[in-house]
């Protein structure tokens, strides 16, 4: 139980990831496949954010020792330490993964947009977004291109 509590984020990541992958491969519906792909990409977001969290750490905004929050924090720390370092001794969470994942989200949104746009064009060209029907229609095209000898 303790293990689950300590790794809860990662368990959720794995579940989301597998669910996304399963959707991508199990369905022939192009829109549903895009949903699965988006879910899969989102799970990496949660993974990165979980990596950045440091237990007991505060958010990554530097505190000024003279501000209200800084004073409140300084009161909890060793006064000699605060005199020397300000409130620098405070542990912050790692902000870098958040920045990275912000970029990855933008990339994901762009991919989603392109994918859905292609799905729209598929619908216009084939009249369906089901992979097996598209396959059947494509075979007709292929036979037109290559008549049986």
């Amino acid at each position: 139980m303790n293990w689950l509590a300590a790794h809860f984020n990662y368990v959720v990541v794995v579940i989301l990831m597998m669910a996304g992958l399963f959707i991508v491969f199990s369905t022939g519906n192009l829109i549903k496949r895009m949903i699965g792909l988006a879910l899969f990409q989102t799970s990496t977001g949660l993974f990165y954010i979980s990596l950045g969290k440091v237990s007991g750490a505060t958010s990554a905004i530097t505190l000024d020792a003279t501000s209200v929050d800084g004073k409140a924090l300084a009161a909890q720390l060793d006064p000699a330490y605060v005199e020397r370092f300000g409130v620098d001794g405070v542990v912050y969470s790692n902000p870098l993964p958040h920045v990275l994942i912000l970029t990855a989200i933008v990339v994901g949104v762009a991919t989603l947009a392109v994918g859905l746009a292609i799905a729209v064009r598929v619908r216009e060209a084939y009249g369906t977004v089901e992979a097996d029907e598209i396959e059947a229609l494509s075979r007709v095209t292929a036979e037109q291109a290559e008549p049986a000898p």
């Binding site: 990496t44 990275l100 970029t103 991919t111 994918g115 064009r121 084939y126």
Partner: protein, 507 residues
């Protein structure tokens, strides 16, 4: 002999900023092309931006030969904290290939787009093409693992849309593009997960810094998981057998410009990134790395060479045939990797350039035929060499290089891999390569035989020689394959120094 280091390419002030210009010029060109008033104007922008990009890539290559490694800081923070471009000979070589194919492809696009893409889409198509180039050059220049992902996706998102643009001529381009998008995105996301694991283990994203810190971490489960995710993800992008399912469709149904560009550069850039991780970032001699090279990469590469060459033999659609052949050729490159020596890697890098040039030639020649006759099946090409001798000649040179005829680059490339394989005692590899080459002779022989020696079917549409705007880039590409087959000094020095660089930095 061409001595790159002694070549004067650009004024020093320009050379100093060439790394970032090689990425920024196509990127800005993409914006300009998207806003251009007409397809013609966007074509001019595309040609100019690609040319400047290629010129800058050449300047960078010269500088790399003088300095060994260029580190170009972005944003004014020193690496490893700040993000930097880190260019060694391997990256410079790939960027040169991308620049050259991009420029010739851009010139070729003037005619091919008119035949293959809806007129109202030309400006956006050129924008996507420049975006793809910028992304790929960024990918081979960057020294940052996460940046590599962003550049990879910048180029990929461009190419997904470009493959779909082939729908005017062949609606199967749309599902092919969709499939490519799904597989490509899965690959890229796997890569990001892998980088996340490595970041968790090392706390850095700078590849050189990561390599230094990973040295003692080869027992870490996080590192091993990261390795698996990165290799699988990049394998998908690079069409490593059996993860190549997206490739034949995308190559066969997309516009011919994109087939040639993807075959020559996009999969190659993913292979490049894989080499960087395999040989530079991950600890040398780690058990999992060696096991992967010997027991996963080498057998899969051998399977690709045999199975996909056989599939090419049994295809009737010409572009699909060449697409399967591409997967087989990627197998040759990975065979070179799996030798895990400086010679093997150098041979594989040389093969990347050789394959890029030969496949670009063949796809461009098919594009030239498609403009005049729209032929696609093998039999449509009967006797076409009589009507379009120059295009057919260029195709034949590309095909000769693919088979590995002496005096072409393909011959030198195969020879080097065989030499490296024998030097490391892997004789079975020579057998596989010989079998692959024999199969290549069969499918290439069929194409050439039909084109040159078969009578045209009576009543079939008469082919015309390709327009001059296609012939010039086509013959330049074919000429490069022959020139480098005789005087290989230019790609050779970059490939050797790139491979040596990866193998000596490690203790």
């Amino acid at each position: 002999m061409i001595e790159l280091a002694a070549l004067y390419v650009a004024p020093p002030t320009l050379t100093a900023h060439a790394p970032v210009l090689a990425i920024a010029v196509p990127l800005l060109g993409a914006c300009a092309a998207a806003l251009a008033p007409s397809g013609r104007a966007s074509w001019v922008i595309s040609v100019i931006a690609s040319m400047v990009g290629a010129w800058m890539a050449l300047a960078v290559a010269g500088e790399v030969m003088r300095e060994n490694v260029i580190i170009y800081q972005l944003g004014g923070f020193a690496p490893p904290a700040g993000i930097a471009l880190r260019i060694d000979a391997m990256g410079a070589l790939l960027a040169l290939l991308i620049g050259a194919v991009g420029t010739l492809g851009a010139i070729f696009s003037g005619h091919s787009l008119v035949a293959e893409v809806r007129p109202e889409k030309h400006t956006l198509f050129q924008a996507g093409f420049l975006l793809a180039q910028a992304g790929l050059v960024g990918l081979v220049y960057t020294g940052d693992a996460f940046n590599a992902f962003v550049f990879l996706e910048v180029s990929s998102i461009g190419t997904y849309a470009l493959v779909a643009a082939g729908e005017r001529r062949d609606r199967r381009a749309l599902p092919a593009a969709f499939n490519y998008l799904i597989m490509g995105t899965l690959g890229a996301t796997f890569y990001v997960i892998g980088v996340g694991f490595l970041y968790a283990a090392t706390g850095t994203l700078n590849m050189a810094d990561m390599a230094a810190r990973l040295g003692t971490l080869d027992q870490s489960a996080a590192v091993q998981a990261g390795f698996a995710f990165i290799v699988a993800g990049l394998g998908l992008k690079a069409a490593m057998f059996p993860l190549h399912g997206w490739l034949p469709g995308a190559y066969a149904h997309g516009p011919s410009l994109i087939s040639l560009f993807l075959a020559a550069t996009a999969t190659k850039a993913a292979i490049y990134l894989m080499a960087r991780f395999l040989f530079e970032v991950f600890p040398d001699g780690a058990a999992f790395g060696e096991a992967f090279l010997d027991w996963v990469l080498a057998p899969l590469a051998a399977a690709a060479v045999i199975i996909c060459s056989a599939q090419a033999v049994f295809s009737s659609e010409l572009r699909r045939m060449i697409a399967f052949s591409s997967v087989a050729q990627v197998g040759f490159i990975f065979l070179g990797f799996s030798i895990a020596s400086a010679d093997g890697l150098s041979a594989a890098l040389f093969y990347i350039v050789a394959h890029g040039l030969m496949k670009a030639t063949m796809f461009m020649a098919l594009g030239g035929f498609a403009i005049s006759v729209g032929a696609r099946r093998l039999n449509d090409f009967a006797g076409i060499a009589r009507e379009a001798p120059w295009t057919a000649l260029a195709f034949a040179i590309g095909a000769a290089s693919l088979v590995g005829t002496p005096l072409t680059m393909g011959f030198l490339a195969k020879w080097q891999i065989i030499e490296a394989a024998i030097a490391s005692g892997r004789v079975w590899m020579v057998v596989v390569m010989a079998a692959g080459s024999v199969l290549a002779v069969i499918y290439v022989g069929r194409m050439v035989e039909v084109m040159f020696f078969r009578e045209a079917v009576p009543g079939a549409p008469r082919a015309k020689e390709s327009p001059i705007g296609v012939l010039v880039p086509l013959l330049v590409l074919a000429g490069l394959s022959v020139w480098f087959g005789i005087d290989a000094s230019l790609p050779q020095q970059l490939a050797q120094s790139g491979a040596a660089g990866l193998f000596t930095v490690r203790p």
